[in-house]
């Protein structure tokens, strides 16, 4: 009697009581499906967050200066000086001045975000122009009333002919000199392509002091050193670290990813409780099955079945039951993941894919088989230990 025959026997027994087997497997099915969907959701969420953050640039550092309360100030020129001094670590620099006033195009007030930046900003963001020119150093020097707009602005308000047209930011008229290439798949209001860049010098005249800077690092491998160099230089200016913060997208991304992972682990852990409950269900049914089949066990033993065979038979049966449950759970998990992707995409209006990882699927399946063996062991032991004489006379 080999394992293949034991498997055949187990499958035969399982088939002969379909309803019971299905109910027994339910806990495992739900547990496995839940683990797969939750891990898939976490996976999708992580991908979504990573995508959105890396579009902001993972090689950039953001400096925020809070000069209130400090007797010292950091002028734009000082910041350029710091970057130039640390050129082994730091590459490009651009002040970023968010404009408070709304952008008006003709008589429309738009939701377009206007930001004052330097001539390097497009390179920092990795944006290319599709039309016209970018901001130039001379624009900064002369505080030119010009701007570069995103593809959405170009398409939605000017039908693709925005270059040379004017719009108003906080009451000041600006001439559009260039259009940035479309960044996202779809143009939408408030989206990635709905922006406007003007020279920071122009922006600062309109709305005051510039307090944030975007700096890129020379090499992402020495990111930590770059950040340290920048922080040291800023400390040299302020002689206190209360007045500035240096944050990096990479760090924020890491923090976010860690938080998502913790969330996923906790949720998957809760879902895994269902697996344990399912395992107990299997044990319960196997114990009932041992009692029901006491006579069969007695017959088999009297015909020469060793304890090992009887044990094997019950353990394999439990393992096959839970493995089958695991397999159904995996299919269900994939089905639910696909459904969840549809729901999330339509509800959140974001491209979030619930994608189960192969590792999670393998783990869920392995755990369900393991649970079958673990919880099948006790009933199998009980069956194997039955005295054949008593078992034969059991009614």
């Amino acid at each position: 009697m080999n394992i293949v025959e034991s498997l055949g026997l187990a499958v035969k027994n399982i088939i002969s009581s379909k309803t019971r087997t299905l109910l027994t497997m339910l806990g495992i099915i739900i547990g496995v499906a839940a683990v797969i969907v939750i891990v898939g959701l976490g996976n999708g969420l992580e991908g979504y967050v990573t995508d959105s953050f890396s579009s902001m640039g993972t090689n950039t550092l953001t400096v925020s200066v809070m000069s209130r309360g400090s007797t010292r100030t950091l002028e734009v020129e000082d910041m350029y000086g710091i970057v130039a001094e640390n050129s082994q670590y730091l590459d490009l620099c651009s002040p970023t001045a968010s404009m408070m006033g709304s952008v008006k195009i003709g008589s429309d007030t738009t939701s377009t975000a206007a930001t004052g930046v330097s001539e390097d900003y497009l390179s920092i963001k990795g944006y290319a122009l599709s039309k016209g020119r970018g901001l130039q150093y001379s624009d900064i020097l002369q505080r030119s009333r010009v701007c570069v707009v995103g593809a959405y602005v170009d398409q939605a308000y000017y039908g693709g002919n925005s270059v040379g047209q004017t719009l108003r930011v906080g009451g000041t008229s600006l001439t559009i000199v260039g259009v940035v290439e479309q960044q996202s798949d779809e143009l939408e209001e408030g989206g990635t392509d709905d922006f406007l860049y003007l020279p920071y010098s122009t922006a600062s005249r309109l709305s005051g002091r510039i307090s944030t800077y975007t700096v890129t690092v020379q090499n992402e491998d020495t990111f930590a050193q770059s950040k340290e160099a920048l922080e040291n230089a800023l400390y040299g200016v302020f002689e206190s670290d209360d007045f500035y913060t240096v944050t990096s997208m990479a760090e924020i991304l890491e923090t976010m990813t860690n938080m998502i992972n913790i969330l996923v682990y906790v949720l998957a852990g809760i879902a895994a409780i269902s697996l344990v409950v399912g395992g107990i269900g299997i044990m319960n049914i196997m114990l009932v099955s041992v009692t029901e089949r006491t006579r069969e066990i007695g017959i088999r033993k009297s015909l020469g079945a060793k304890e090992r065979y009887v044990m094997e038979q019950f353990v394999i049966e439990a393992a096959v039951t839970s493995a089958l449950g695991g397999a159904i759970g995996i299919l269900l998990g994939y089905g639910l993941s696909a459904a969840a992707t549809q729901v999330v995409t339509s509800v959140m209006d974001a491209s979030l894919t619930v994608s189960p990882t192969f590792g999670a699927v393998l783990l869920a399946f392995g755990i369900s088989v393991g649970i079958g063996i673990f919880f099948g062991y006790l009933p199998a032991k009980k069956a194997a230990a039955l005295n054949p004489i008593d078992a034969l006379h059991y009614d």
């Binding site: 009697m1 007695g298 088999r300 009297s302 020469g304 060793k306 065979y309 004489i389």
Partner: protein, 248 residues
């Protein structure tokens, strides 16, 4: 000639709380290859204990049981399972077929535990079913058969492993007298073909079909001899009581 089954002063005690029940009290006998022996006794006589010990389902508390020269009392559970598989063919009162398996699969069970491969198993199972006249019905499930047919399947199963001893425990107990006679005739055929058959029964009319009778009473052998002797069917004590006017 060496005996196939040898009981040497076999005792079996059961402990029930504080009391000890003596189920077998120094039983000794020998059964040789090719014999047809009936072990007879009323309930409580110790015949079931004898049957369990002969069938290697149980071991003696005291004394020695040699099966084919091997000391069964010294064996562990696995060796007992092996020897049951190898040397013994069981026929039970309740047939004890597995309801979910078809006839061929039922007959194959002991062969499966003996490690016979699948095709050889099926061949021998069909052979065996042929000997009891049920080869054509091998695809049927036990519950599609009459009691007599089921008992014939269980005989086929007992034969399949080609055992040294066929051990029949009240094989006609659940059958009407006609089918009971058929089953007995089958056992006699097996004996005629050279098999060793041990029949356990409480019924004298069944026991006399055997060649030799071992009568048990209160855990002791009270008669061991040919089945056609007059004293074979009457116990000495019962005979004494009859001589004294009989019960009632």
């Amino acid at each position: 000639m060496k005996p196939l089954i040898e009981f040497q002063q076999v005792c079996k005690y059961y402990h029930m709380g504080d009391t000890t029940v003596v189920a077998a009290d120094h039983i000794s006998f020998q059964i040789f290859q090719g014999e047809f022996v009936a072990i007879v006794g009323s309930s409580g006589s110790g015949k079931s204990t004898c049957m369990n010990i002969i069938g290697c389902l149980d071991v003696p508390s005291e004394g020695t049981y040699l099966l084919d020269g091997r000391d069964v009392g010294q064996m562990n559970k696995n060796e007992l399972a092996e020897i049951r598989n190898e040397l013994l063919g069981f026929i039970f009162q309740q047939y004890n077929l597995l309801p979910k398996l078809n006839l061929a699969e039922n007959v194959e069970v002991p062969l499966m535990y003996a490690g016979v491969n699948k095709s050889e198993r099926r061949r021998r199972a069909l052979d065996s079913l042929d000997r009891v006249g049920l080869k054509e019905k091998w695809r049927h499930k036990p519950n599609q058969l009459s009691g007599g047919q089921q008992q014939r399947v269980s005989i086929a199963r007992a034969l399949a492993g080609n055992p040294a001893v066929i051990l029949a425990d009240e094989p006609t107990g659940a059958l009407d007298s006609k089918t009971g006679r058929e089953v007995l005739a089958l056992l006699q055929n097996l004996h005629a073909a050279g098999n060793t058959v041990v029949l356990i029964t409480h019924d004298n009319s069944i026991a006399v079909q055997a060649q030799r009778i071992i009568r048990l009473e209160d855990g002791q052998v009270v008669y061991d001899g040919p089945s056609d002797a007059p004293e074979a069917v009457v116990t000495p004590r019962a005979a004494g009581r009859t001589a004294g006017g009989g019960p009632g």
